[in-house]
């Protein structure tokens, strides 16, 4: 929906829009700010032109057991909970007083030490169903409280802040349909080398693509229109396929995919978002293996080796990358009877890139004591959408209003895991062609929240369990916010904002 439509459709829209624009423009920044139709903020003052980050989502499908990766150093509780799969502190790589890293993740340590890697506790979805089906799709759609979930959040991100390049969004692996599903056309790649048309007999690939372009050019419908994009993407993806790398990746599916990611970025073809699925299953109900080898250790080693190789391969381009791991849920705290773990809830999230407040563990660990768990699971203290929102606002050029469109019925918490784009100038050696491909955004540095007052901090310390409805606002950014309650079919959600509105289909409850 563009602004004109928004105004036309909701009678109160014009007033709300103008008011917000006024507040933003005058009160905070002393300039005039215009919110464009697609939610990207353009401003005549107090903002800078920046090359945004490429956002890479690495999906760890199956339910990632963060307690085996970012391991609490409370040996008493951990030994009791983990039994056969307990990892003693003496085997861990120290991170801080409370946590150590699984030794198979050692290749992440150079990033940690360079402050290019951070860990966030304890992250998860607002829902706690323990169902793969529900959670992996819900995490991808990220539209809790919305009935129609046919578009993924990444697709909505590009609706809001895309470059329009045919390859602005690339998917590698099978989650593409969900993350990138929706009206925004994207390119899904199953290996760069496979993204090609095959010739037949003496009729060459370029002959076929010319034939498709010509014959589909006489038609107009979504299929024919996408076909023209696909044909245009062929050359761009081929340019990525021609990139050479001397970096040694793990010889794994994940390594191959991240190598493709590096090639896509190096080719400077305008990729803004990448959805890549870890090529392996984290659903370790049984036989996780030992510290030396086996399912878990091999998978962690693959994960660390692939990310570390990507970082090396990208070189200076890493300064404009944010990579984040996403999973459908964490795992149960207690080991089961088969040397595995059951589906749980919260877990740790890894975030890496050139604009990270790295080398530290952010967020709040909810505790392992039985009373601190929810049905045996780690409690989620940070909604994963807060992390994604911060990536999009601080690194990818999306405005706060844009984030509302991307994550409906949700107000993100400010985490300060990421640096402001304007605080990390583009390195002079950053290749101009790649920067040109990515394009620029107008970046307006929103002030960090003031330190919480004593009463606020009391309300956000150890925790009432987060509700299973969309997260409530925890911090304010200086503007006046109010919360309204919306109802639909007996279902109630709360929406908070300066000018909160109920999502489509919901009615405001007075």
């Amino acid at each position: 929906m563009n602004t004109e439509e928004a105004i036309a459709r909701c009678p109160e829209g014009r007033e709300g829009f103008t008011r917000r624009q006024f507040l933003q423009g005058l009160t905070l920044f002393g300039g005039i700010t215009i919110l464009s139709a697609n939610g990207v903020r353009y401003s005549f003052a107090a903002s800078t032109t920046e090359v945004p980050d490429v956002v890479i989502i690495l999906v760890l499908r199956g339910g990632f057991d963060s307690l085996s990766a970012v391991v609490p150093t409370d040996e008493n509780l951990m030994r009791k909970a983990r039994g056969q799969i307990f990892i003693p502190n003496s085997s861990l790589i120290p991170l801080d007083r409370d946590f150590g890293l699984h030794p198979a993740l050692k290749r992440l340590m150079p990033l940690w030490e360079a402050k290019e890697l951070a860990i966030i506790n304890t992250v998860g979805a607002p829902t706690h169903s323990r169902s793969h089906f529900d959670e992996i799709s819900d995490v991808a759609y990220a539209a809790y409280g919305e009935k129609n979930k046919r578009s993924g959040w990444m697709s909505r991100f590009l609706d809001v802040a895309g470059t329009g390049s045919v390859v602005q969004a690339v998917g590698l692996g099978s989650t593409t349909k969900q993350l990138l599903g929706g009206k925004q056309s994207s390119v899904s790649v199953n290996g760069l080398d496979n993204f090609k048309l095959e010739g037949i007999f003496g009729y060459r690939p370029e002959d076929i693509s010319g034939f498709i372009d010509e014959t589909h050019g006489r038609w107009s419908n979504p299929w024919a229109d996408q076909a023209k994009s696909t044909i245009r993407a062929l050359d761009l993806i081929a340019r990525a396929g021609a990139q050479r790398s001397t970096v040694k990746y793990p010889g794994s599916g994940t390594g191959d995919r991240l190598k493709d990611v590096a090639a896509l970025l190096k080719a400077g073809i305008g990729v803004r978002a990448v959805d890549v699925e870890f090529a392996g299953d984290w659903d370790m109900h049984a036989n996780m293996g030992t510290l030396e080898n086996g399912w878990l250790t091999n998978s962690l080693s693959d994960l660390a080796g692939s990310i570390s190789a990507l970082r090396e391969d990208l070189g200076i381009l890493w300064s404009r990358v944010t990579l984040v791991t996403v999973t459908e849920f964490g795992r149960r705290v207690d080991v089961n009877q088969s040397n595995g773990t059951e589906h749980g809830w919260g877990g740790s999230m890894f975030i890496a890139g050139g604009g990270i407040n790295g080398g530290k563990i952010h967020g709040r660990f909810p505790g392992l004591d039985e009373k601190q768990l929810k049905d045996g699971d780690l409690v989620v203290t940070t909604d994963y959408r807060s992390v994604l929102s911060e990536i999009l606002t601080r690194r990818a050029g999306v405005s706060a209003e844009g984030v509302e469109k991307i994550f409906p019925n949700f107000r993100p918490e400010v985490l300060s895991v990421l640096k402001h784009l304007s605080d990390t100038p583009l390195p002079t050696s950053f290749p101009k062609s790649v920067a040109a491909g990515i394009g620029t955004v107008m970046y307006e540095k929103m002030p960090d929240p003031s330190p919480p007052s004593p009463s606020q901090s009391a309300s956000s310390t150890p925790s009432p369990t987060p509700s299973s409805t969309p997260a409530e606002v925890k911090k304010t950014t200086g503007r006046v916010r109010k919360t309204i309650t919306c109802v639909k079919n007996e279902k109630t959600i709360k929406v908070t904002g300066t000018n909160p509105k109920c999502p489509r289909g919901y009615k405001i409850k007075e």
């Binding site: 199953n190 006489r218 299929w223």
Partner: protein, 528 residues
């Protein structure tokens, strides 16, 4: 999907025979078109509805060559016996990593769609598989258990009622082990009943949220269903502790499927679900109550609209008109859920004849339509084989786990309860296009499917020109007149590849194959 095209492009045929065949089959063939022209669309349609009397000799002969297809219609327990008799190694592969029983069913489904003469029946089988979607997606215990029951599901729920009565199918689905496992009935408890099935029963299978049901209705229904459990294969009993239901005391068979009632986990009393109320005071009253609830749901006007909408999407257009939905819903209601009467109303609805060229072929339909047009059968020399003591069992097929999986439309494989989407917008993306187009080349070359026997597709005429070849091949594949610009494009392609006057004696087969490849590539081919 609405389309516009320029003069010179090939337009979809407006011939009512072609339109009906494109919508109600996986693709017209010249023979089928001749038959329907002879007897008329209505008579053909009636024959199709009376599907068991439609002879299917070619398909039966092909399937009979491969013993494993027998099992699709037999008790799935026979797979186990077969595995033991044949010492198939590893034994567990039947139910886990290689998932033989499910793969055979997938392959059977694809071959039947391509070559059964009972085309409306096969299409409705797919329709109901999507409506009552169940899928095993992996190798967990739940998926193995689901694999175990899926053949029976296909046979006794979907195929048994595909052209029968909707209420019968709903009743069968509600107590079938496959559905119970898929929507987590096994995890249900008396105090905390699992809501998965009861939610989908209302949301997807019948009344949909438009009916205004509440969370209380879902919980009430979940209590009514809380005692249903499934039988496990003997060898799996030892692992039942995984589902934490050791120690059950009273299990009562619930015929006709491998279903049981776990009396200790069943809720009793009076249940209110929307406008329905029923009392269950003993184990024997559970099944009658479920049937009574289903009967209420089927008679609910919103269920009729759900089915009308979906049939509209299947056969008419992505967004059927309100009038269409109301008209078809009223036939569904007055016929008490009779699927044949409802389908007749779809065919005869004015919106149907007005909808030429508005439906996009989903990837699987497109794939099957190519196989039908080229009259090709699976190339079993390309199948993976499980070695048995006395015979080999081709279990793995590049057709399903290769091409159809790459296309994202393998049969019975959508992981979520809502089934594969039936609107174009869900299917349009770059990777899917390239995969689709490259598979066209596989087809005309003959890789996963046999090489096309071109003389069966059209009658060769040794004296004809390239232009005449183009016209005749396109006519036999498209059933529309080739647009002037498209003809030029194909003609230029042949000239570019083989010169202005190619040696037709030597190159005829290859030129025919290239023409067919390019005809299938035209945008009009993507519509049904």
């Amino acid at each position: 999907m609405e389309s516009t095209w320029l003069a010179g492009a090939t337009a979809p045929s407006r011939d009512p025979v072609i339109h009906a065949l494109k919508r109600f089959t996986y693709g017209p063939t010249p023979e089928l078109v001749d038959e329907v022209r002879r007897i008329g669309v209505d008579a053909w349609f009636e024959n199709q509805l009376n599907y068991s009397s439609v002879p299917d000799q070619k398909l039966d002969e092909f399937l009979a060559k491969w013993k494993m297809f027998d099992f699709v219609h037999k008790d799935v327990n026979l797979y186990w016996k077969l595995a033991e008799d044949e010492s198939l190694q590893p034994l567990s592969s039947l139910f886990s990593s290689d998932r033989m029983s499910i793969k055979i069913l997938h392959l059977y489904t694809v071959i039947s769609q391509a070559h059964s003469n009972r085309q409306i029946y096969e299409m409705m089988v797919e329709f109901w598989h999507d409506h009552f979607n169940i899928t095993s997606v992996g190798e967990g215990l739940k998926d193995e258990l689901l694999d175990w029951h899926t053949n029976d599901w296909n046979k006794n729920v979907i195929r048994a009622h595909a052209l029968g009565n909707f209420e019968d199918m709903l009743n069968a689905s509600a107590i079938h082990p496959a559905m119970i496992v898929y929507l987590d009935g096994e995890l249900s408890a008396k105090q905390i009943p699992n809501e998965n099935y009861s939610r989908e029963l209302l949301e997807l299978h019948t009344v949909t949220p438009k009916s205004g049901y509440t969370q209380d209705d879902v919980i009430s229904a979940s209590k009514l269903f809380s005692g249903l459990r499934v039988k496990w294969p003997t060898r799996y009993y030892a692992r039942r502790k995984d589902f934490n239901i050791v120690g059950e005391k009273t299990l009562i068979d619930v015929p006709p499927f491998q279903t049981m009632l776990h009396v200790e986990r069943q809720n009793f009393g009076t249940f209110k679900i929307m406008g329905w109320e029923g009392s269950v005071n003993s184990a024997s009253q559970v099944l009658p109550a479920i049937k009574s609830l289903n009967s209420y749901l089927v008679s609910h006007p919103q269920t009729a609209k759900t089915i009308a909408l979906k049939l509209g999407r299947r056969f008419v257009r992505d967004e059927p008109s309100d009038k269409f939905i109301n008209d078809i819903a009223s036939v569904f209601t007055s016929s008490k859920g009779d699927i044949q009467s409802t389908l007749r109303a779809v065919l005869r609805h004015p919106d149907f004849s007005k909808s030429v060229g508005t439906k996009f072929k989903r990837p699987g339909e497109d794939y099957i339509s190519v196989a039908r047009a080229l009259k090709v059968w699976p190339n079993f020399s390309n199948l993976g084989v499980l070695k048995g003591r006395t015979q080999d069992f081709p279990v793995e097929s590049r057709i399903v786990s290769g091409e159809l999986t790459q296309l994202g439309h393998a049969p019975l494989s959508w992981p979520f309860p809502d089934g594969y989407a039936d609107v174009a917008s869900a299917w349009v993306n770059s990777n899917a296009q390239l995969v689709r187009w490259n598979i066209y080349s596989n087809f005309v070359r003959g890789t996963t499917w046999n090489q096309p026997a071109w003389q069966e597709i059209y009658t060769p005429d040794a004296s004809e020109s390239v232009d005449s070849l183009i016209d005749r091949i396109s006519q036999s594949l498209l059933f529309s007149e080739l647009g002037r610009s498209d003809r030029t494009a194909i003609s230029n392609a042949i000239a570019k590849t083989y010169g202005i006057s190619p040696d037709l004696q030597r190159l005829r087969r290859e030129i025919i194959a290239l023409i067919a490849r390019l005809v299938i590539q035209l945008p009009v081919w993507s519509l049904r």
